[in-house]
Each structure stands twice: as structure tokens, then as C-alpha cells.
Symmetry: C2
Subunit: 121 residues, 2 copies
């Protein structure tokens, strides 16, 4: 795996870490202090806000897992990839797409997210 | 058209403007002074560098046109869209994908580009 594969896998792992203390530490290590996250539902500035946002999403989708769907397309300091959220071994309930940019120290400076599939009412 | 449709169309228009003076002015008006552009082939910081990069791409694909391919998916201050580059009324030679972010004044602060189809040798 190249370093972007590792970075994206670590990023997705934070979305699956439900222990708040562990997740806070993982996010703080992975993200730049001024890192920004924006998806259609929410936005967060800085690691503490990012970790809190992840926690609130986890509460809405309790027991489900985030997984990489397909490959990671990366160049320079940016990568794009599709992810899925759903029950283990079940069909994805949500499919999303992120563009992630790292800073010169290798930490996440920006994630701009979009949604390709959302749960129907 | 919502304002992001207009912004993306103005953005693509700069890629089709081959008069250097006109393009410099269009890009300066459209982009934030600290706007950044990164695609797999090149990167540019600031409107002057962005316009110069566009000019150099135009020289490689003389006579071809950039067009929006499909819809624009936008939320908050960000949009994603696919574009095509090719001869007028001909098959696209290049297909690309951009995520564009505007600042609070509505000017482009960031474009992170990827390529989905490139010319074969």
C-alpha cells in the first residue's frame, strides 16, 4: 500500500471507532489542527469537532460499519474515494464520496464529502 | 440556474477563453487571490498562475473545447462535476472530474481535479 492507502484506511478507521476517547486521540493524530470537514449534512473545523461529528453520525447508524468501496485515486496531496456505510456483510445503506487533501506533514487538512446514496424514508 | 451552476459555467468558460488578456481578467474576477488549483498534471497558486496553466493546457489541445458533462452536485460552498475536453461535436479526448470550493465572497478558493479518461499514446 502507498501512503495514501494507509491514510484513507486510518481515516475510515476513525469513523468506525466508537470509543470516544480512542477516537478523539486517533483523529487528533490524523488531522491537522486547522483541518476542515464538510459533507452535505454537517461540517467541522478542527480535530475535536471532527471527532464529535463522527460520534453523532455513529449514533444515527448504530452497529453499522464504514468501508472503502473501490479504489483510491490519488496524486499530489489529494485523493478521491467512495465509501459505504451499512451492516457487516449487508447491503450498504449509505454510499458517499470524499476528496481528501493532506498537508505537507501528511496530516488531513481537508475532506470535502458528497453523498451518492442515502436511506429512503 | 442556481449560483453554483453559474460559477461552474464561468469556471469552464475560462478554460475555453484563448485570448490571454481576457482570460487573465476572467480568472482574476472569478478566483480568490489565494485560490489554489491542483490536477494530476499541474498545480497553480493564485489567479495569474491559474490562467497561465490554462493557457499551457490550451496549447496542448488546440481547437478543443471544455464542456460540462452531466450535472453539478453542490452543497454548502462546494460542488463536484465532470467535464469533457474534445473537438466540437466530436468524442471527448479527456474526461475529468473537479471538486470546487468557493469562499464566503463567492470566489473560487480551491479546485481539486482528477482525470477519468486521458489520451492514449
Amino acid at each position: 500500500m502507498n501512503d495514501f492507502d494507509t491514510l484513507v484506511q486510518r481515516y475510515l478507521a476513525t469513523w468506525n471507532e466508537t470509543d470516544t476517547g480512542k477516537r478523539d486521540a486517533m483523529v487528533a493524530e490524523l488531522w491537522a489542527d486547522d483541518g476542515r470537514y464538510v459533507d452535505p449534512i454537517g461540517a467541522a473545523d478542527g480535530p475535536a469537532a471532527v471527532s464529535a461529528l463522527i460520534g453523532s453520525v455513529q449514533q444515527q447508524f448504530a452497529g453499522m460499519r464504514f468501508e472503502l468501496a473501490g479504489g483510491i485515486d490519488a496524486h499530489h496531496d489529494q485523493a478521491r474515494f467512495t465509501w459505504e456505510l451499512g451492516p457487516v456483510d449487508g447491503e450498504a445503506l449509505v454510499v458517499g464520496f470524499d476528496v481528501l487533501e493532506r498537508d505537507h506533514t501528511g496530516r488531513i487538512r481537508l475532506v470535502l464529502g458528497f453523498l451518492d446514496k442515502v436511506p429512503t424514508a
